[in-house]
């Protein structure tokens, strides 16, 4: 039996097609709006430019140093003691980065007054790394590549933890790096210090000419990860 199509059904179908096209365009535009550089403000673009410029300089410096090391290592190929001293120096640099040896340097110490949440502490530490901190401790517990911040609850109180270690108050964070830059990154208007102060949490900062940061008490061992076999 032949079915009769009404005129309104055609109009409705066209309208639905139009609606589909509009929605899909809208989503595409919205996605573009979120990440396209041309839609970011001039001040945001300037921040990105500055970050990238810093990154380029840092990379150039490390490449220069690594190239020098490589050239000298090639020269020292037959002189074990020279080569060992170069490996030793690179090993020490990585141990400092990994937090497996004690570190000394200038920077900033921050004492937190108020009830900090674990998410606040995660943001605070992240902010310090973003401002090029080179080594960080929380209550003398070194922050390492695998460090996690959490909390444990007792009957009467909740404590923050760093790698499972309880952080008793007051929480003191030490960060080696460019002290004034670290301070500025926390205290800029609308920054983390401003946000925390809304919840009666205050950061007392002090620039330090020299401070010592504890090392991780035990050497970390990987149980699951390994270097892929070379093909």
């Amino acid at each position: 039996m032949k079915k009769h199509i009404h005129g309104w059904q055609i109009y409705l179908a066209i309208t639905f097609i139009l609606l589909g096209i509009m929605i899909s365009t809208q989503i595409q535009t919205q996605n573009r709006l979120m990440s396209d550089l041309s839609l970011q403000s001039t001040s945001d673009l300037s921040i990105m430019l500055k970050n990238l410029t810093d990154k380029r300089w840092q990379l150039s410096e490390e490449i220069e140093e690594a190239e020098n090391n490589l050239i000298h290592s090639q020269d020292d190929y037959k002189d074990d003691s020279e080569l060992m001293s170069r490996i030793d120096s690179e090993l020490e640099r990585l141990q400092l980065i990994n937090g497996t040896i004690e570190a000394v340097g200038s920077g900033i110490s921050i004492t937190v007054q108020g009830n900090l949440l674990s998410s606040d502490l995660v943001l605070l530490i992240n902010e310090l790394w973003a401002a090029s901190a080179e080594a960080v401790t929380i209550n003398d517990f070194r922050v390492t590549p695998t460090s996690g911040i959490g909390y444990i609850e007792t009957l009467d109180k909740t404590y923050l933890t760093c790698d499972g270690n309880v952080l008793h108050e007051p929480i003191t964070i030490k960060a080696i790096g460019n002290g004034p830059i670290l301070e500025k990154s926390l205290t800029m208007p609308g920054g983390i210090a401003d946000n925390l102060s809304l919840y009666q949490i205050y950061l007392h900062m002090e620039l330090q000419e020299e401070m010592q940061l504890e090392a991780l008490p035990t050497q970390p061992q990987l149980r699951y990860g390994k270097i892929p076999d070379k093909e």
């Binding site: 309104w8 109009y11 409705l12 309208t15 509009m22 365009t25 809208q26 989503i27 919205q30 996605n31 709006l33 979120m34 990440s35 550089l37 041309s38 970011q40 001039t42 945001d44 673009l45 990105m48 430019l49 990238l52 810093d54 990154k55 840092q58 990379l59 490390e62 490449i63 290592s73 090639q74 074990d80 080569l83 490996i87 030793d88 690179e90 090993l91 640099r93 990585l94 400092l96 990994n98 937090g99 497996t100 040896i101 570190a103 000394v104 995660v122 943001l123 992240n126 790394w129 901190a133 080179e134 922050v143 390492t144 590549p145 996690g148 970390p220 699951y224 990860g225 390994k226 270097i227």
Partner: protein
């Protein structure tokens, strides 16, 4: 008086046409904003500088990775048969693995996250920020995975190292100063069961899931392939950092 009878489909069509009109106005507004922003010569200069710098830093990262590989190969060659040198080389390799400057593979978990596009579509007048993945979501998830013992993590191919920052500038998410766009894939190596449990108790993951964000995860089983993480190709700032042992000696 005779009551006018409208066919059933008329109110529906009117409603749909109104909806189309709403989308059209919204689209016009956005397009006009795009044109205005693109027309700003200062913005154009900044974008061009950023694009060039991104290409330059990517090339520098490749160069640094290749120098690291050459040095490693050279030390490996020199250390053959030398027990003291071999021992030192092993320590160096361990330190490189911990620092994240070598690729890493092993069992673990892969999390997929994307913006909530369907939520945004059904509520076009709502604040779009409620429907996008924010840098805090990624940061907290990384912290949750670390608490569950993750030994290595990457986000969209960017290896997370000790000094990796996850932040946003405007609406752009940056990891290791590299721009990342959704969908996001977080890969972590560690005990798959512990990592899976961490997601089950992760406030961030559960909130995203309950708010309609398309989030999912997959763990490696005994039969599935391992997860591979790329090496970190960026630099580490150590200008102000000295070993305490050195300081005491001097």
């Amino acid at each position: 008086m005779k009551k006018s009878m409208l066919p059933n489909w008329v109110p529906w069509l009117t409603f749909l046409l109104l909806l189309i009109g709403l989308f059209f106005v919204q689209e016009l507004k956005i397009q006009s904003a795009i044109v205005t922003a693109s027309a700003d010569p200062k913005t154009e200069v900044l974008i061009s500088l950023i694009t060039n710098l991104e290409a330059e830093t990517a090339a520098l990262e490749d160069r640094l990775a290749s120098i690291r590989q050459e040095t490693e190969a050279l030390i490996g060659q020199a250390a053959t048969g030398e027990s003291q040198l071999t021992e030192l080389q092993n320590q160096l390799t361990q330190a490189q693995i911990q620092a994240g400057i070598t690729a890493l593979e092993g069992p673990g978990i892969t999390i997929q996250l994307d913006d909530n596009n369907s939520g945004l579509t059904s509520s076009p007048a709502d604040d779009p920020n409620r429907y996008i993945i924010h840098y805090e979501n990624l940061l907290y998830l990384v912290n949750d995975l670390r608490n569950a013992g993750a030994e290595g993590i990457s986000i969209n191919g960017q290896r997370i190292v000790v000094s990796s920052e996850i932040r946003c500038v405007g609406n752009v998410i940056l990891v290791n100063t590299t721009r990342l766009a959704p969908p996001f894939e977080i890969s972590a190596i560690g005990d798959p069961k512990a990592l899976e449990e961490a997601l089950a108790s992760s406030t961030t993951y559960q909130q995203l899931s309950l708010s309609g964000f398309p989030v999912s995860y997959k763990t490696t089983g005994s039969h599935s392939n391992n997860i591979s993480l790329p090496a970190y190709t960026g630099s580490f700032s150590t200008k102000n950092l000295t070993s305490a042992a050195h300081e005491e000696a001097s």
